[in-house]
Subunit: 759 residues, 2 copies
Amino acid sequence: MKKDYTVVGKNIRKLDAIEKAMGAATFTTDIKLPGMLYGKVLRSPYPHARIVKIDTSKAEALPGVKAVATYLNTPRVKFNTSATSTFTIPPLQPVEDQYVFDSVVRYVGDEVAAVAATSKKVAEEALELIEVEYELLPTVFDPLAAMKEEAPSLHHCEAGKNVPGEKIHIEMGDIELGFAEADYVFEHTFKLPVQKQAQMETQAAVAQVSVDGKVTVWSTTQTPHPSRRILATIFGLPYSKVRVLNPPYIGGGFGVRIGLSAKAEPIALALAMLAKQPVKVVYDRKEDFIASDTRHSGYVTVKTGVKKDGTFTARKIMGILNSGAYCSWSAETPGVLGAMGLSIYYCPNQMYDGHSVYTNTTPAGAMRGFGNPQGMFAVDSQVDIIAEELGMDPMEIRRKNIMRPGLPWVLPYPCQSSGLEECMDLGAKAIVWDQRGKQNQDSDTIRRGIGMAIGTHVSNAWPFCGDYSNAYVTVQQDGSIQVASGVPDMGTGTITTLSQMAAEVMGIAFGQVGITFADTESTPFEIGSHASRTCYASGTAVVAAAQDARKQVFEYAANMLEVTPGELDIENGIIYSTLTQEKNISLGQVAMEAHLRGQQFIGVGRIIPQNAPPYLAHFAEVEVDTETGKVRVTKMVAAHDVGKAIHPLIVEGQLEGGLAMGIGYALSEEIKYDDRGRQLNNGFHKYMLPTAMDIPELEAIIVEAEDPTGPFGAKGVGETGLVATAAAIANAVYDAIGIRFFEIPLTEERVYRALKERK
Amino acid sequence: MKKDYTVVGKNIRKLDAIEKAMGAATFTTDIKLPGMLYGKVLRSPYPHARIVKIDTSKAEALPGVKAVATYLNTPRVKFNTSATSTFTIPPLQPVEDQYVFDSVVRYVGDEVAAVAATSKKVAEEALELIEVEYELLPTVFDPLAAMKEEAPSLHHCEAGKNVPGEKIHIEMGDIELGFAEADYVFEHTFKLPVQKQAQMETQAAVAQVSVDGKVTVWSTTQTPHPSRRILATIFGLPYSKVRVLNPPYIGGGFGVRIGLSAKAEPIALALAMLAKQPVKVVYDRKEDFIASDTRHSGYVTVKTGVKKDGTFTARKIMGILNSGAYCSWSAETPGVLGAMGLSIYYCPNQMYDGHSVYTNTTPAGAMRGFGNPQGMFAVDSQVDIIAEELGMDPMEIRRKNIMRPGLPWVLPYPCQSSGLEECMDLGAKAIVWDQRGKQNQDSDTIRRGIGMAIGTHVSNAWPFCGDYSNAYVTVQQDGSIQVASGVPDMGTGTITTLSQMAAEVMGIAFGQVGITFADTESTPFEIGSHASRTCYASGTAVVAAAQDARKQVFEYAANMLEVTPGELDIENGIIYSTLTQEKNISLGQVAMEAHLRGQQFIGVGRIIPQNAPPYLAHFAEVEVDTETGKVRVTKMVAAHDVGKAIHPLIVEGQLEGGLAMGIGYALSEEIKYDDRGRQLNNGFHKYMLPTAMDIPELEAIIVEAEDPTGPFGAKGVGETGLVATAAAIANAVYDAIGIRFFEIPLTEERVYRALKERK
């Protein structure tokens, strides 16, 4: 049932737009406090070593140095920089394998010590005066090698050699029977690269400790409440004595700071405690590359049983991901890879086995898509292989097998909505799918192709970890409202979207909404911004709070108007009886009347979200230069079932951003290591992000298959933009040059070599 | 029923103690923002004048000047600097008689213009460049004169010539019959001086307007939420776009900033809007004297009918107070004077008539006691006169007539508790009342005397204006809690007291409580700190919120322990069954378990307070130097029924502070005006505050007649300390030298003249 909304669905100016356009928005790096010091970190030059001796005396003696922190004078409490320790669902236990500083370093960039000084320059000078004697330890960089008996153990592991947490096993139906029923069985292994979030703002935190021990930390975290929990635990403080907040803006996130901002917060806080002065720690770009989570690289094997007519009878996926030196989100990511990879198609017999493996590389953690882009590159590359083998059109084989509402799947929540087929149809029309195979190939060297891929994702973190949200909506005496939610806005439009929903429920203008956010002291517990959840889950909490407030308002107004609450509605701030036109009163009048009688309408929303599947179909048109191996995407169409676009422009922005990131994943982005565990391309000059020149015409198509569990029917949209992009491009490249790639990115070098090999 | 509390009743270290002792606490004057300007105000040199012409061009041209504000470029919206506009109870209407700047000035110090500049010095220079042409208007300085037909009208008034708001009339029984039944009728008129709050920190505000129009104001206000309402109304903004907060500390208040901090907030905000830069306005001490509310001076007439045995049969009080040039709290103050003056004694036939009158002097507003010290000076001076006439001991006549629980009075709430008689008994014992009249008078010139007086007060603002409170108590995942209340802490220990109550209800240690306060953005609506209400009313809201959270905790824990919620109790953070010793679990475990299942315990307290009478008996021992007229208080005993002392040291501090302020009121403090309406003593060098040298041994005695309506039985204690002090001292002076004073302060000059006159 489509309803005519007055605020929801409208492209209202984003709440942060003017501040950001005018350069007035405050980010963590902008924070200056009286007496604030600058912290810098000494990082390990070795991929695996024991610190035999560390002498900080010369550094401490340098004028301007106020504190030097090492494993010797900081808490010996293990933690996980990710928020997993905050909401791993029992009986699973969070993997806590890090200290602020440890006597063993496990990757190049691992924290050895940190200095707080009166200037960045002095701090950097002091780092060079710290004398460290290392005993080198054996190393391993590849996850397959790290699983072997002879590999060095990076941490104590229960589930297997170098396996953090528990192995994931998912099963539905009878996999053996499924393969037995198949006419053909296909099995392929795909290799995935290390991608970097490359968010605009590097990891940063400012920590202040009051003279009586109360802690305030401003940071780039995507999750203030979970961050508070981690910090309070490390430093042994009651949670209520630690305040974590955004300042309030964050220059992007893409998953890189779900939990702590790498170690910016605990290092800043440890230094602030030692120096008894506020300390700012801002990672430089190199640090952000080498010592801050990346996307998981690894291997994904897909084995599919299929009937002659293209019906899938069995699918087995195996994923082995490279955790890097610490766990971060490595226990959860393989789960999302498997569950999403299995859930895009209906298949009665399914199985997934997957896990991560520690290696002596930069830790991998959460990144937009969270395992799903890895899995979908594999799955939807293979589906095209199968289609070709069976002589089917890629659209046709997908249409035959896609998941549809009501069908069983491996997820613990039902599929209640799907606009996937509509996405496929609209996307095919926009890319002119019918021209596939009939493209103009009039150049000697340029080959053109079209490809597609589909995908789904989540709208919040459950069931992969806990997810819930709380919010307040208080009605002010003039009828304006104040929303309070602990969720940050990383630039994704969260506060605008939440304010729109609150305004819609309350029946007031958007401009009447104020919002308090991203501060543990002024908001109830909220998981934070990740898992495509802010609109869906935080939004549901805000809607619940607004509904609670609205209920109180209607009860009060009904009394004033001498009608029943049930007959009341509100529009443009006017509460009116739907039965009698004369009976109406403004929200401001009701709020003021209640105020003068001693009452404020305070709505509290407490929700545990369901989950809902967004769907997407991506279409890529590419040109491959057969002389150079250069792949150019000339057009991309992304048709997304977002449930309901609360703010269509924000949704389009999310999709376009995801597409760009997906193009980078497909074509150019990869962190490589040398044989001593050192990143070869730890900066924007070597790490090949797609630039504006690389981005083709992008067409985002919004499909709205409203989900009954979402606020106004909305589903998650933050990550979907890149889920199927790499597969769609790889399939288009195949269409262009007939070469199937089992590894991305499709760099000039890789494509060139493949072309050469074929010749 | 006395209960053994673990946190309540204990002298825990105040939450703000260390920060203040270390100089680390932040006050409004400490705030520095990037690009912040300094605002200074041009004030009228005339007591009543029309601005014929104002030329700001030269000021604007001065380098460094960023804005000049006058009535010509600031909002033409009338308001009241007090919070009365926020919670006057209908059908009464708040008196709104001020603009930020007006074209008429009505007292010496009234605001003419203001400048924002890059430094205070430049701003001050610019003030001198503003050219103003005034047309002088007729003036009136005495309230009795201002009521006369021929007096100039300062404002349009409905209730009578120069009468702001409505006249107060209170009545019980049959006053004529009461006087007819009396054996004697006494009538006396008393004259009260202008006292100044003389709080440590002068009025101050910093206003910031974001590029998209959102307003943040840090200020010294005692009432952030009501202040926000006033500012939003003046500047035509939705309340949700205005944030008002303390920074978070305030250097005292004593009523001087219930509502706005004089005009610091609107002037700073007007300048910030004009300059498009943040602006700080800090009143200097002289401005704080001449342009910030004082206590009401005026006249109080008491007429009492009494039987031969000392029983009161009728009492009529009349109060005429000097409002000064604007209303501020002048509509409410006469009501408190009357209601309290009538309620300390039981008398079946009572009447009060009172009101304020506009004059061309500095506005009078709220000051600790709020009319009550004025009335009680009159009432309890007269009671001593009556006692002497009837040959009764002052203790005896009071004991015969004091209000007792269950008896009728003029207040709309019942008297449900009284420790007054115990206060009288303990106080009399401490001062050695039996020695009265038998004191050592061995000096030629020094005469010694003992006097007493009693009093009562309120525990919140109702019924004189609206009063309600809301609070949140959220349980963190470790079992620590976060309290959120919009109430400020002016140094009175509010946050400590509220945290104690929350800890007690939740059964946890004091150190486990965090508190968010005094910020409109992070707390639900709360009236603020005044009317002796923070412990009683804000406390009741916090207790209600904690009880709500505790109920949720017990329900959850009962499920975990497989017991009923009703059998659970909590101590030291351990929830246990009162029936089965084995069944127990820590609050932290329950909170974490709930967290992992998607629930936070969020308690919301929403209360409309009752009211409860604190009681007090003050005893003063004085020496009067008959050669110089110098009165020295040698000892004061203050026995107070505070219901329940949540934090005895804080209570004693409040009592001692009140006593010191009362000693000043009795002996030395008075703002005087010359015949051109100029204050003669607008600074600490001329306004005679009692210093440490003037303060005698003070003995505070705490009596705890718990009131059923108060949190843990507590009643208000913020103002009681000075209610009866002046009367007790005047009565002691009479005992020493036999001269009855009908006017305070009892300065050397006044006493000397009276001694000389008698000779």
